[in-house]
Subunit: 693 residues, 2 copies
Amino acid sequence: MTTTPHPAWLPDDAFTAIGRRRVVVAGDGALAGTVAEEVAAATARFGGSFSRLEVGDGVADAELVLTLTPPGLTEPGPTEPGADVDESFRFTREGGAVVVQAPCDAGLLHGLFHVVRLGEAAFDGPDADETHAPATGLRMLDHWDNVAVHPVMGQVERGYAGGSLFYDDGAVRADLSRLERYARLLAAVGINRVAINNVNVHAREALLLTDDLPEVARVAAVFRRWGIRVHLAVSFASPILLGGLATSDPLDADVAHWWVRAAARVWTAIPDFGGFVVKADSEGQPGPFAYGRTHADGANMLAAAVAPYDGLVHWRAFVYDHRQDWRDRSTDRARAAYDHFRPLDGAFADNVVVQVKYGPMDFQVREPVSPVLAAMPRTRIALELQVTQEYTGQQRHAVYLGPQWSEILGFRFWAAPGDAAADDSPTVADLATGRGKAAEDPGTGAWRKPAGGFAAVSNTGDDEFWTGHPFAQANLYAYGRLCWDPGLDPSALLDEWAGLTFPGAPDAVRAALHAVLDRSWETYEQYTTPLGVGFMVRPGHHYGPDVDGYEYTPWGTYHFADRDGIGVDRTTRTGTGYAGQYPSPWREVYESVETCPDELLLFFHHVPYTHVLHSGSTVIQHVYDTHFEGVERVERMIEAWSAVSPLVDERLAERVAERLAEQLRSATEWRDQVNTYFLRKSGIPDERGRTIY
Amino acid sequence: MTTTPHPAWLPDDAFTAIGRRRVVVAGDGALAGTVAEEVAAATARFGGSFSRLEVGDGVADAELVLTLTPPGLTEPGPTEPGADVDESFRFTREGGAVVVQAPCDAGLLHGLFHVVRLGEAAFDGPDADETHAPATGLRMLDHWDNVAVHPVMGQVERGYAGGSLFYDDGAVRADLSRLERYARLLAAVGINRVAINNVNVHAREALLLTDDLPEVARVAAVFRRWGIRVHLAVSFASPILLGGLATSDPLDADVAHWWVRAAARVWTAIPDFGGFVVKADSEGQPGPFAYGRTHADGANMLAAAVAPYDGLVHWRAFVYDHRQDWRDRSTDRARAAYDHFRPLDGAFADNVVVQVKYGPMDFQVREPVSPVLAAMPRTRIALELQVTQEYTGQQRHAVYLGPQWSEILGFRFWAAPGDAAADDSPTVADLATGRGKAAEDPGTGAWRKPAGGFAAVSNTGDDEFWTGHPFAQANLYAYGRLCWDPGLDPSALLDEWAGLTFPGAPDAVRAALHAVLDRSWETYEQYTTPLGVGFMVRPGHHYGPDVDGYEYTPWGTYHFADRDGIGVDRTTRTGTGYAGQYPSPWREVYESVETCPDELLLFFHHVPYTHVLHSGSTVIQHVYDTHFEGVERVERMIEAWSAVSPLVDERLAERVAERLAEQLRSATEWRDQVNTYFLRKSGIPDERGRTIY
C-alpha cells in the first residue's frame, strides 16, 4: 500500500472528546483490552488521562468510565445457537460524567464507539440513563472476494473498490495491518460477523476450508480483537472437490461424515468461527437438487456438522432458473425463491439461517419487498442487502442507499399502505430480528426465534478510500448502524457519518453532502429504469444502460416492451401469479392496477404507455420527465459539491469530482438511451418537446 | 498434440494417382526438393517409381515429369517490389504422359499440387497444353494470433479453432512439426504469404520484431520450404515500446532511423522476410494521427525502411471513429475509410499496399463492396476478406463463404447491374490483381501496377480439424484457390475440396456436402440480419442475436429501427452521403430506393416496414419469411448430413453433428429474437400466422 488509506469514519479527530478527558477502563476480556488501547491512544494524543482499573475499583474524578458490570449486578444474557454474546451496554451521564457499563466486553467496545459517535455531546446535556442493545446478534457483512483473480469477475466479484483487503497474489495477504484498520471500522458501526470469500466458490477459494485454514485463522485473529467472527462461503460440492468423494449428496453418510470432520478441523483452528455461507443450486453453483434432495436436506446436513460448535449455516434463498426461455411467459423468476422455500418452512434446523435478498429479483434500485420474508414463520430468516452498488451505480455514482434500506426495513406485510393505525403490525426489521410484535402465523401462532438478522454484500476493497467513491463509505456506515437499530433515520445517519468523517468541517460541507446524497437513490431511479421494471443494464458487468440487454436472455429479467406498452403481468388473475405470494392486504394492493403503487406498477402490470399513473402523468410522460429530471438533479449535485469541495481534503475532493463527472456522463447516457428507446417504440412525443434522439 | 490432426485436403489418398506412376523430378532449388520429397513419399506408398534427374536429362518412359524449364527456353519473369518470384507453370499432356514445366521452383510446387487436385483426371483425357499463373503474387493469410493468451480475446483474436499453431505458453512453439503440416496445406491451395501475429499488437507480441527474431526465423524456415514468406504485424508505436524513444512520429528522424535498423535486423535474420502489416489509428491502436501526420506519412516512413529488401508494408484502411456518438446521425462509419484514404491516393510509396476490407463496415454477412476499392487508382490496393467466421457463425455454423467472395470479386463498379455487355468493365478482382481491363482513372488514365492482391484473416488453430467446424476447411481452401484464380466457380471449388478431403467417398457424401454448403451463406443471411442492415449481434464476442446490442454504442453500427421503419439513410440527398462515394452507375443505383437491390436496401435507406421490395414482399414480411425459411433450411441441412454421416470418419461425423445441432439452436434463437423484436415494434403480424413471441 503506497498510500495511507483514508481514515473513513475514524479519523484521529473523531476521538477528540474522549481524548481530552480523564478516562478509566475497567474489566477483563480481549475486547476490554482493545477498548483500553483505543482510549490510551486517544488520551495520549489529546492530553487527557487514562487509567486501567479492576472492575469495582474507585473511579473518583473520572470523566468517562468504561467498565464491565460489577459482579452480581447483571448476568450476561443467554446465548442461543448462533446468537452472539450479550453486546448491550448501559450509558449513564450524571453531572457531565459518563459511565458505560456492559455485561460483556463486546458491549464495552460498542459503548466506546457510541461515545465516539456522540463526541462532545456525550458529555453535554442533561443526566441520562439509557440501555443500548443491538436489534440482532447477527449483523453480517459478506465479502465476495476471490483469492485468485477471476478472469471475468476480477478479484472482488461485483467489487468497485480495487482488489481484496484479504487476498493478494493468490493467497491471504502476508501483511494484515490494513485488515486491522478495516476490522476497527466495521466494529465501530456494529458489524460483528464477516464472511471472507465469494459465495460463488471457485476451485482456489474452496481450499480456504482445508489447506488454507491456518491463513483463515490469521484473519480471524485480526477480527477477533474487534468482536467480529469470521465465516466462510463453502461449495456444496466440497466433498467432491476437496474430499475426493464421488458425491456430495446430503443424505450420503460419507458426505455427512466428511462435513463433520471438516467442521471439526475448522473449529479446532478457529474456536470462535462463525459458520458457513452457502449459495446452492443457483447460477451454476452445485447443490442438493443434483441428488433429488431438498434445500432443507442440504442445509440441515451442514447444520448438523457445525451444531456442536454453535456454528451457523447461512443458506441463500437466491435460487432460480437462470436458463429460462424468454419465450415462456409463465415462468417468472420473481416467484422462484418463494416457490422453492415456502414449502420447506419448518423443515430447517435451529442453526440454519435462510438468507433472503430484499427483493424477488436481484438488488435492483426498486423492487417489491420479497414475499419470502413473510412466508416462513417457522424458519430463521435473514434479510440480505447489497452495500456494493452492483445495480446502483457501481460506486461511480453517488447513491446513498440508507433510504432504500430504511424503507424496506419498515415495510409492513400485514398492513395496508398508509394505514397509520397499523403501527403494531410487524415490519421487515421485526421479522429479521425477531423483535417487535411479529405477525401471528396462521398455522402456529408464533414466529421462530431467534431470527436470522442481517447480511449484506460489502462494498470495500483495497482502494485508498475503501469504497471507490468516498461517499459510498456512507452506505457501509449506514448498513452497520441499521443492523444495530433498524429504526434509525437514514438522514440522521448521514449526519453521523459526515460528522465523524469530516470532523470540524464547516456546516456548508454537511449541507452539500445532504444536497448530494439525501435523494440520490431516488435520483438514480429517475434516470435509470422506470416504475419498478428493473434491469435494462449492460449484460455481464451491469453498468450503464441497455434497454433490451436482458430482454431475450435466459436470465428471466424482462420488461416486455412493445409498441403499445410495457411491464410484466404478475397478477394472479392474468399473469404469473407472483402477486399472490403476498399476504393480504398487499396481494390485493399489487393485484390491482388501480391500487398498485406507481413506483412498482411495471413490476406487477403490463400497461399501455398512455396509462395514467396516480401521479397524474402517463407512463410514457413519466419516463421522459423522470429521465430529464434525474440528469438535472445530477447537475445540481455537482454544483452543490463544487461549491464546498475546496473545504475538504484535496485527494478526496478530486476523487469525488471525477466520480460526479462520470455520474453525469452516465446519467445522460441513461436518459438518452431510455427516452430514445421508448420514443422510437411508442411514437409518442414528449409533451414538453425536449430533445430525444 | 495428443490427437493426430485431420489431414484436411491432403490425405495420403489424395496422392494416389501420382503415387502409382513413374515420376521424374528435375531441377534445383529448395522447392524442387520439396516436390521431390512429396513425390518420393507418394510413389513409395502407392507402388510407383521416382527418379530425380537434372533438367534436360532424358525422361523416356516417365508418366509424370516435373521439371524446371530447360535453360534457354524461358526466363523467370521480372520481379517488382513486393511481387513474388514467377510462380507459373506449364501443364502438358500427351498420350497420357504429363509434363509440368516451370521457370522457377515455386511454379514446380504449384504444378505438383495442380496434378494432385486433378488426380486421375490429370492423366486422362485429350492432349493438353496449358499455362497456369496466379492472378497475383500477393496471396496472403493474416493470423490474428497472440503469443500470450489475451485476457479477453484469448490466444487467437476472433479465433474459433482452439489455440495458436504458432505459439504456446507465451512463446513460439518448440515443436513446429504441426506448423510444417499447416504450411504444406497452405501451399497446396496457393497461399504464399503469412502474417503470423495479431494486427492488434499487444506488449508481448511487439517483441516478435526484436527479441524474438530468432524464433520468427524458425517459423520462416518452416514456411520457406513451402514457398511461403512470413510477415509480421507491428505496432506503430514500436519505437516507443521497444526502442525507448519518446515518440513514434513518422517524420521524426530518430523514429525513421529506428525502423531502418529494425528492418535491417529482421532481414538479416530472415532474408526472404515479407514485410510489415500495420493497423494504425484504429480501435485504439497507435498511429500517425497522434502526431498530426497522415497515413501516407506513416506508411511511407515504414516503406522506406523496408524498401532495400523489397519488403512490403500492408497498411490497413480499417480506420474509423470507434467512439462515435449514437445520437449523431451525420457521422457514418461506412464513410470513414474512403474519407480517410481517398485524399491520399497517389501519396503512398511503391511498396505500400493499402489493405481494404471488402465492405465499408466490418466483415458482415452482407455489405456493399467498399468504394475505397474503386477510389484509389494510383495506390496499390489489396482486398481483405475474413476467412475466420467472426460474424458468420464462428465455425459453429456451417457457412461456406466461397459464394460471397466470388460475388465480391466479380463486382463491377463501373457497370450497371445486370448489364451483360459490361463484361470488359473491371471487376474487384481486376482492381486487386492489376489484371484485366482496369478502369480508366479520370485523372491519370491508368491504374497503378502491380496491385495489392489479397489478404484474409485465417480461420485456423490447433484444433484437431484445424478450423473447429470441419466444413470450415472449405473456406480456407476456397480462399487460397480464389486468390490464385478469382474466376473459379465456388461450387466447383467445393467439389475440389470434397474430392480431396473425402477421397473415395460415395457420391451421396458429395451431394450432401453440396446440400449443406452450397446455399449456406444465403441461409445464414436469412436467419440473421435482414436486407443488409448488419450487426444485431451480442456485443464483444459477436455470437448470437442482440438486435439492439450495438444500437446505442460508440461503434457506429446502427439500424435505427423505430415503430414505423428501419434502415440507415446513406443517400446523398437526405442521408449521410455514403452512396456518393461510388462511381456511376452505382451511386445512382444505391441512391434510389427504387433501384437499390433488395439485399442492401436497409444499408442505404430507412424505409417503412410496409415498403414493398422488388421481390413483391413487404420489408416486415420479408423479415418473417426469411427467418422462418432460414431455420427450415438448417433443419434440412441436418437431414441431408445425417443420412450420409455414417459414411465418413466417425470423429469428423461427430464434430459436424455437434456443430449442426448448435447451428439449429442458434438459428432458432436468431429467428425468434429478430421476429419478436420486429413484431413488438411494428405491430404487424405475420401474414401466415406463424408463432412469434
